[in-house]
Symmetry: C2
Subunit: 378 residues, 2 copies
């Protein structure tokens, strides 16, 4: 049952990807970003966000201290001075004020953020799907025999018509080939290389550059105020962890995603964990509050998402006592990013928008509320 | 498959409990503790460890600061000055010394501890099994109709002969009745009440008094030295979290146990998580390193256990680079605690002892290495 939901979800994402590949011209109508695609191509490191202190893992401890010092001095500089920014700052100021009736103890300052479409972009498809395709191509280069498999051959040749014919089971096979049969150490190395080198198919940017600067500032602002910030995403935990700290400043043990099963075994006298081609946990929709409880053990007081998939996490967060903050990132900027909600095949936002209005959740209007979207705009 | 392993494990534990109940005289031969059983009965709070600063949740932040100040001044006072104590102190001193080649960054100072038999006692049976029996009796008091079920009636009447006849499926049913069909909030309240009031069947002590003081000191010592300490247990996460901080100073998000499935739903307009009678994760043996990786995302540098069940966690911990510490708590004290290893039906330690000797893991001899075992001895 869980497996079938997983594959259905992945199938949908897959078609988004295939469709977008076949309709690039349509996507291009909505954005004028491709002309800047090659500007930053020379950057060969994941450290791309120079003006906020999220850099390499080695520097994080020091930089965190720096952030603490800068605490509350001009927070959220990439946000326009709209009501949205004021709401966030008022919330943080209130719940960290020991004299306020809404004061929240640091041990309860849990903030959860969806990833795709909330912290970084998700068009033309979820970046993990793009990774799977990159990985299949690389594997076929290393081992040409893999191309005897017609599906793999189709991926390598960008023959998306054929790939599509294989449907759900085909996508399952591709994900298995791309993400299992290796140890967790090996997969970490693969992911680190990918995030450092792979380019987005439309913008030509590194994926680590496709992050929302205002959201990085929000994470920093919350951490400066002793919030514990977690990523809660439908993407794979193992997909996100190798770069969560260098890109978002979020450590490995604060990353909750979908999980593959692992097998513990001794290989050549050394214990290893091998990634199996089976789903252990599919972290979507109602599964998000469940995994937050199973892993963190507490209800968040702050939650941000961007899609209907995030509704249960936001509902659950807001159901506790005291002051709480739920926010929806609304993709309204067709020039600097992508504009989509109700009818989108990635990050569909339909009922979530109704819920936000009904329950007075914060709606972040990317076009109006954000001075800068991507760090490379600066 | 996983489910069957779970029930098999529980079945074994169950028989240990039943056997021990029928053979109290045999157990008593090994210990002379029952005569002190009523001494502390008047204590009506979970805060029983007065001489080390692990007290109520409210005080924890302050107390932690206190601990930091006391850092490295006379650590491990309840340990005798044996080689074991020296090995631990030498390890911590070395890996926290920035000038040492074995220095470990604070972000990698992950320490994992088994719970039953490592941090608190596990005789005559795992305390979660004892909780399940207590809970069934309480439920039957609230709702006498439950006793129409012959198995429940047998538990209520301490008719263990009949209970035993129901075997594995019987135990599954009892656990379901005791631990599901309630919301997570309700279960937290149940556990908090139990840990505050329930008494151990042989010593008459609160379960929170049946903790090993030297291990509490070790946790404090590691935390003082910026280690992140996690509990990694076969017991239920939801069973442990409601008291992990007040009893051990370990916060909810550092507790990794077995898990039941949860369902997110809206009840009377309010989102809740309901505990289902299905196993989500059975955190035993090879599943321990797997859950550590899935949830924490890093290999520990310190791990302590007491049974064969902990072998993979310790093997995996020791397989990394640099200096690491693995320890086995060996139950050698038949007077102050219980003496058991190879042939024990709880916490069996057979191959684990061989592995410890072969790989030079630390073996803690409770009788020789510990000046005090339980806080109430003081």
């Amino acid at each position: 049952m869980r497996k079938s939901i997983f594959y259905t979800t992945m199938f949908l994402l897959f078609f988004v990807f295939l469709s977008s590949c076949n309709n690039k011209s349509k996507t291009d109508e909505n954005k004028t970003k491709t002309d800047t695609a090659t500007v930053n191509e020379k950057i060969d490191t994941v450290v791309i966000i120079k003006h906020i202190p999220v850099t390499t893992k080695k520097e994080t401890a020091y930089k965190k201290e720096e952030r603490k010092k800068a605490k509350n001095l001009n927070p959220l500089p990439s946000w326009n001075n709209t009501k949205t920014k004021k709401t966030i700052i008022d919330f943080v100021t209130t719940v960290t004020d020991k004299n306020s009736q809404y004061y929240i103890n640091p041990e309860n300052r849990i903030a959860t953020f969806d990833n795709d479409g909330t912290l970084w972009a998700e068009q033309p498809s979820y970046f993990q799907i793009l990774f799977v395709f990159d990985r299949i191509k690389e594997l076929a280069k290393e081992n040409p025999k893999l191309k005897r498999d017609k599906l793999v051959k189709a991926v390598v040749n960008d023959d998306l018509e054929t790939v599509r014919k294989y449907g759900i089971s085909g996508l399952g096979n591709l994900m298995s080939i791309a993400q299992s049969g290796v140890t967790t150490d090996e997969f970490e190395a693969i992911m680190k290389k990918w995030i450092k080198t792979a380019k987005h198919p439309e913008t030509g940017k590194l994926y680590s550059q496709m992050v929302y600067l205002p959201m990085l500032e929000l994470i920093s602002y919350l951490e400066n105020n002793d919030f514990m910030v977690y990523m809660v995403s439908g993407s794979g935990t193992d997909f996100m962890r190798p770069w969560s700290e260098s890109v978002f400043g979020i450590p490995e043990n604060h990353v909750l995603g979908s999980r593959q099963k692992l097998e513990y075994k001794i290989e050549n006298g050394k214990p290893v964990l091998v990634k199996l081609p089976e789903v252990d946990y599919n972290n979507h929709y109602k599964a998000k509050p469940v995994s937050i409880y199973q892993i963190i053990g507490k209800k968040p007081v702050v939650a941000f998402g961007n899609a209907d998939d995030d509704i249960p996490m936001l509902q659950w967060t807001m159901s506790g006592d005291g002051k709480r903050l739920a926010g929806i990132v609304h993709h309204t900027d067709s020039v600097r990013e992508w504009a989509y909600d109700k009818n989108s095949r990635t990050g569909e936002l339909d009922k979530g928008l109704e819920e936000a209005v009904k329950n007075n959740w914060l709606i972040i209007d990317m076009k109006k509320d954000w001075k800068v979207i991507f760090p490379y705009e600066l």
